[in-house]
Amino acid sequence: MNMRNPTTLAALATTALISLGSTAVLAEDVTIQVWVGGGAGDENSYRLGAIEIAADILEREAAVGGEDLNITIDGQFFDDWSAFKQAVTLGAEAGTAPHIVVSGHEDIAPWAQSGLIVPIEDYVDVDSWPINDIYENLLETSSFEGTLYGLPQDAESRPFFVWREYMTAIGYSDAQIDALPADIQSGAYTLANVLEDAKKIQDAGLVEAGYGFYPRASNGPDYWQFYLSFGGVMEEDGKLVFDKAAMTEFYQFFVDAVASGVTKKNHLGMDWGQWYSEVANGKAAMWHGGTWHFGRYKKEGNDDFFGTIQFGLIPGGGGNAAANTITHPLVYLLTQQDNDDETAIAAELIKIASGPRINALHAIKSAHLGITKSEESVDLYSGDRWAREATSRLLPSASAMPNNVNFGQYWEIMFGGLEASWTGSKTVAEAIADVEIELTSTLGDKIIMR
């Protein structure tokens, strides 16, 4: 049954309207299933925990209204993204999808197009608390074709990090290191400076070869930041954009890093455990990662983050291109279900779970950033130096990847080209030429080639 079909809607409307005089009739015992992607570690527990707290509040609200509502939350965590996405998409085709999924916002476009998810806007008032307190850009990131499909579960961004001690060793004063984030933002410190300083640090014997600039170890949204750094645009007026000049400079940057020896040719595909442990303990001079790394570095034995590491936006590539960062919020989404009342309850739970107090629990525990403006007034949040500084330094310049049905294909092709040029299996020109051919034959008129 398709809930957004006018006939069905009319029937629904009738049911809802007839019950106007009295309070809405809710089932007594409801089980809401929640599937959470992105890791089963303890730090992620509030992705589900927030829904459990919300269930308690909703039960109490129902009780105040004279109803006996009993909600059971049946949650499941997934460690592996691809297994999670396969489970959700194939589960939905088989009619066994959970009510709520927690996934990356980039899933909204393909899943909305296929009808796998339904807009939360069909169930909640977007003017109501706490939705009216969520940052506008995060709400946009949770929308597709102008309709709000989900609510952001967390915010984050992907900063650039440097190891303070090595910067001092190559002649930076403490004041200069403290001013680095501002210099990055103003464009005074660029990606060219990154390669230059990384080389200096490496030549001084402070880090081993290949550890001067130590990028993310596998594919991820982070790499789009370097495309943006060279003035690239991902989407314009709802259409994907391939900017050849920006893509070429972006690939060339990594090829130059390998050529100058500050980055390893075989860096991609390395073990993540090794990577975290190395960057947390000063084995690398400069690198980039996510705001949640703050928590991870502590686990890896670095108890003095602010004393050892400086962070800022991803530097621009020079010229007009600005420093930037990408926020990649996970979102609570509602899947298409036969029982519309259950979906309405699930929507209500998501709304309650997005309140600043509940969301701050997740933000602080997992070292993510808050989603609502009022979160900065919650003591737990404002008392945390990382949350405070990362929010003010990174979020204002944060953009997000577009919610476009074909973005996933563009992404894989972009990364294939980067990997091929990085590892030397193709020259930058060959990789770009192949990417162009592949984009044209795969996406046709759905992408603007520029």
Binding site: T14, L17, N219
Partner: protein
Amino acid sequence: MVNTVTELTSDRAAGAPTGRDTGPKLTRLQQIGNSKYLGLYLLVPAGIFVLMFFLIPVILTGVFGFTNMSTSTGITGGSYVVSRSSMQALEDRHDLGEIADQINQIVYTIDEAGLLAAGQSGVAANTLRELSSKFSGNNFEGRREIERAIKNLDARPANTRAIKALAKYFERSVLNTRFDSKEEFLAAIDGFGVSLTPEQQDALIDVSYTGWVFTADNFKRMISLPDTKKTLLNTLFYVFTTLILFNVGFALVLAISTHYMDSGPSGFFRSIWLLPRITPPVLYVLMWKWLAWDTGFISAILGPFGVEPKNWLLDSPANAWTFIILINGMVGASMGMLIFSSAIKAIPTSLFYASEVDGATRGQQIRHIILPQLRFPILFITSYQTLSLMTSFEYILLATEGGPGGATEVWALSTYFKALNNYAGALEYGYGAALALVLVVVGVVLSVAYLKLFDFKTLTAPPKIE
């Protein structure tokens, strides 16, 4: 089951001379047992398995390969939706910008028809009265605007769902509404006052349908992509190098060398070579990674000799291929070893004794006795392992993920990536199926070629002496 069948068969043999008419009445099972179709009945379970796990998947792969099925089209069918991007496509692809503008408007109008329909559905009269008096004839650009207007009524509905339901009665646009059938969709467009010619209707259907359609574009795309040829060459290199060096070559070496050992040591060595096969793949590959990582065993051993630690597995395409072939070969060799060993055991020992009396060397025994007798097992292992290697990608996925830079991406892995692995969840089932279909065709062609090459008919001909 086997016992029952044996009993039934022997019953039939015993009862046959007495004649059917005079014998006791047969049960249904006995009738089946007596049937001349017994052989077919016995094949039914196997037939079901072949149907379910081979024929249906192959047929579905063939069908899916000619579609544009993906996560965004869904598998079970689509709907018809007017959206901002579909209207953009109407303008770009069909040059119908004006129609797009006409349809692409969210309009909510407080009119008599809406008020009447809402009233008939049981909306409180005072709510409708207030709505009519304050907003009659008003247009709202979007859903949020009309919902805000309803929320501000004194006699507003009590809950959000009721507000949304009430707003729906005044919607005079199809934007972002999903329709299950073409007819409903076109009727709704017509109902909102947009009249279309049949050609315009077709164009609108083309851009608004969210489900999959049949197309041969997958194959055009496959041919046009520069990486297709590289993946094909990678696959041929991977399959035949692993096959010749390990799955057949090294397996023969193991089988023959253990044949000339005493039974104790030979059993021990064969068991050792079985270990890679019985180790769970994830763990097995992890051990190779421990060996090859820059903090691993090879780097640790070479460190004192001044060799910089590095990721040996991903250092260069040559390194990656060496590891991939070793990882697969160590697993693959064990199967050939078992088959060849048992085939060698089946060679009458008198042949070996006779050759030794004639003064034959080990080399001559291998060349003139063992290898000719192993022709059939070698055919079997070659065909079986070719197909198996062609479709296997799990060890490559676990070890290099096709890297560095796609250097070890084989056809099956590429199929997996396209159909079931995308960072943004955009899985391309149709294109993946088209890639898989190529594997099916190549597999069948190679099997036929092997049968011809090894002269299968002669191998299976009954011995002339009988």
